[in-house]
Amino acid sequence: MSGGAPKARSFSKAAHEALQDTQLRRNLARATSTIREKRLRATEELPDWQGLREAGRAIKAHTLAHLDHYLMRLEQNVVARGGRVHWARDAAEANAIVQELVLATGAREVIKVKSITTDEIGLNDALSAVGVHAIETDLAELIVQLAHEPSSHILVPAIHKNRAEIRALFLDAMGLAPSELSDEPAALAAAARRFLRGKFLEARVGISGANFAVAETGAVCVVESEGNGRMCTTLPETLITVMGIEKVVPDWRAMEVFLQLLPRSSTAERMNPYTSFWSGVRPGDGPQAFHLVLLDNGRSDVLAQPERRQTLHCIRCSACLNVCPVYARVGGHAYGSHYPGPIGAILSPQLFDTPEADTLPFASTLCGACYDVCPVKIDIPSVLLDLRLRSVERRRVRRGRLAALETEDGAMRLAAAVFAEPRRYEWAQRWARVVQTPFVRDGYVERLPGYLAGWTRTRDVPAVPARTFREWWRARERSGSSEP
């Protein structure tokens, strides 16, 4: 991890805290609204953005349907060009492979390109455990690493930090006197650049993730803004890439589609500054040893689920985070996972099967803003619904008969039984009208008990009125008049 594992908590508890952090709220509101506007402009200027999205979805769906074939082709072509491919079933295997590869070079430091996949498996900690220090070279990842915090956003990991906080971190880490560094963004970037230059020139091992890997030729691709990816993948003698198996694409033609979809959806640019492709090794030029570590870590389980496999379409653009009204208020740490926001709410519970992750599918109003902007058309609300069903059904299996004793489960069963019979439903309406009486003031109830208490902390709720619709209708039918 760049700065540590996110704290595992139930989403509602984490959100409760995050919502009170006024600095975080302001940083997030400003950053997300700015990028939202930009993304809209960047996508609307294209003649057929919707057609591009559909093409992206179709390529991903096809690739996933033949994932074994494309992964084999990828391996074949990487090896043919002088690289080596390693298959890692899970995080432990992947870490063991990378540890061994790094130790074999004798290097005690490695430079890293931002890779959430390496965060997912906890690679930095695994390297540290064998005496190897991993230096993050992406500016925002460097910031969160120095702060010993986990990233809070897929694209802009330090979105929760402002420049005063960053300056404080740099003064400490780089041993600078306060007079030597202002909090102007250009000055902060220059300080980071000087700090990182030394690291780039000394490093013997570079570690990256991959945005895409082209099966047709074995070319691996990193899409970035700062140029540190270019440095890490060309300067060191040894390059190790850790890549989730779902990142493979069939051919170069697919890259026409994704290189249009990704920059416009993520940084809202027509084109990002640096896109790097490398295939294997070339004697005398660039890394002389290239290792591709293919990571499963639960992905093939996701693939096995018809409703949920579209989760693997994700190209990690973070457009969904930037339009999500929930993410915009609670930030990434509240999701307790390296994958936050709407995509995190579906990916995290599938990759990390924990009780805390199981609260994530409920961290949404199903508003659908994410689905509208997803460049590969992941129907996130649909997958959320399926994961909610999974959550309830697994709890019922786990608790057996006791499940019905839980407030929500018992209430839902009761409500379903009431709604199943019209006469029962009408009786419940009349009963509610009677029972509410002591709590009604001027037609509203201001305090609800138990499971419903959260409502009335900030809202009133209307009382059941003297006549329901159906009572009015019946009275009207009986009297035979059409007067209201």
Partner: protein, 249 residues
């Protein structure tokens, strides 16, 4: 036209005014209405909370109740969205091919009120009069599931005397989300705070929408905060005429 009324459970129980207004508007346009009393609830709350299997009996009840009718109309984009988009999924979950077929046949005949007025009845001026300042909140289900677009606004624009004011950041979710409003009450309230602030910014007297679900949440805060702004369903505005103008209850 003979139209069967689908009056959602919370409209029936808490907001009967929206149901009465729906009757008023459709009868004023000359149509015959039926209210099949066997209807109860579409089950959306259960589905969205993970209790999908529990409400398969409700799908059966819905199909039994409304199957006989050519046109079914409801003053609720979210409930119609449930029937059209989610019922096929629930029917598949039931593994009953007859139910799957019945849902497939019925769903296209179930309409949200404003879509029905504009698309099926091809009317935008329903003869309404409502001399108040109104802002419109486009609910997420109506925009992203049913995609009714600006149909409600087109109907409101024809209302005599109305002063329509655009709602800033209208497309942002109000934070209701069914049980999300209680299970994640803090986040729900934070989202609601933004929606209320935007409503107050318009200076409107009324916030209208095509769904009483969101309005219950928005109106709950507008009332709690004593803002002096109220919520009304679009139907209630369309039902108001010069002969029988809407008055606060």
């Amino acid at each position: 036209m003979r139209i069967a009324l689908f009056i959602p459970c919370y409209v029936d129980t808490l907001f009967p005014g929206a149901g009465r207004a729906t009757v008023e508007v459709l009868e004023r346009l000359g149509h015959e209405l039926v209210f099949p009393e066997e209807q109860t609830c579409c089950g959306q709350m259960h589905v969205n909370t993970g209790y999908q299997r529990d409400v398969i009996p409700l799908v059966r009840n819905f199909v039994r109740t409304f199957g006989p009718y050519d046109q079914v109309v409801a003053p609720s984009a979210s409930c119609v969205g449930e029937v059209r988009e989610i019922y096929p999924r629930l029917a598949r979950l039931s593994r009953n091919p007859e139910l799957v077929a019945a849902v497939e046949a019925l769903a296209p005949r179930v309409h949200e009120l404003t879509s029905f007025l504009v698309d099926t009845l091809e009317v935008e001026d329903v003869g309404a009069y409502f001399p108040h300042r109104v802002t419109f909140h486009p609910t997420c289900h109506s925009q992203r599931v049913l995609r009714i677009g600006d149909r409600p606004q087109r109907l409101l624009a024809q209302v005599r005397g109305i002063e329509l004011v655009a709602l800033p950041s209208a497309e942002e979710c109000c934070g209701f989300g069914g049980t999300f409003s209680v299970k994640n009450a803090d986040t729900s309230s934070a989202m609601l705070a933004s929606k209320v602030a935007n409503i107050l910014q318009t200076g409107a007297e009324v916030c209208a929408a095509a769904d009483n679900s969101c309005l219950m949440h928005i109106g709950g805060a507008l009332h709690r905060q004593r803002t002096g702004v109220r919520t009304l369903h679009v139907a209630e505005i369309l039902a108001s005429t010069e002969a029988h103008p809407w008055v606060p209850a």
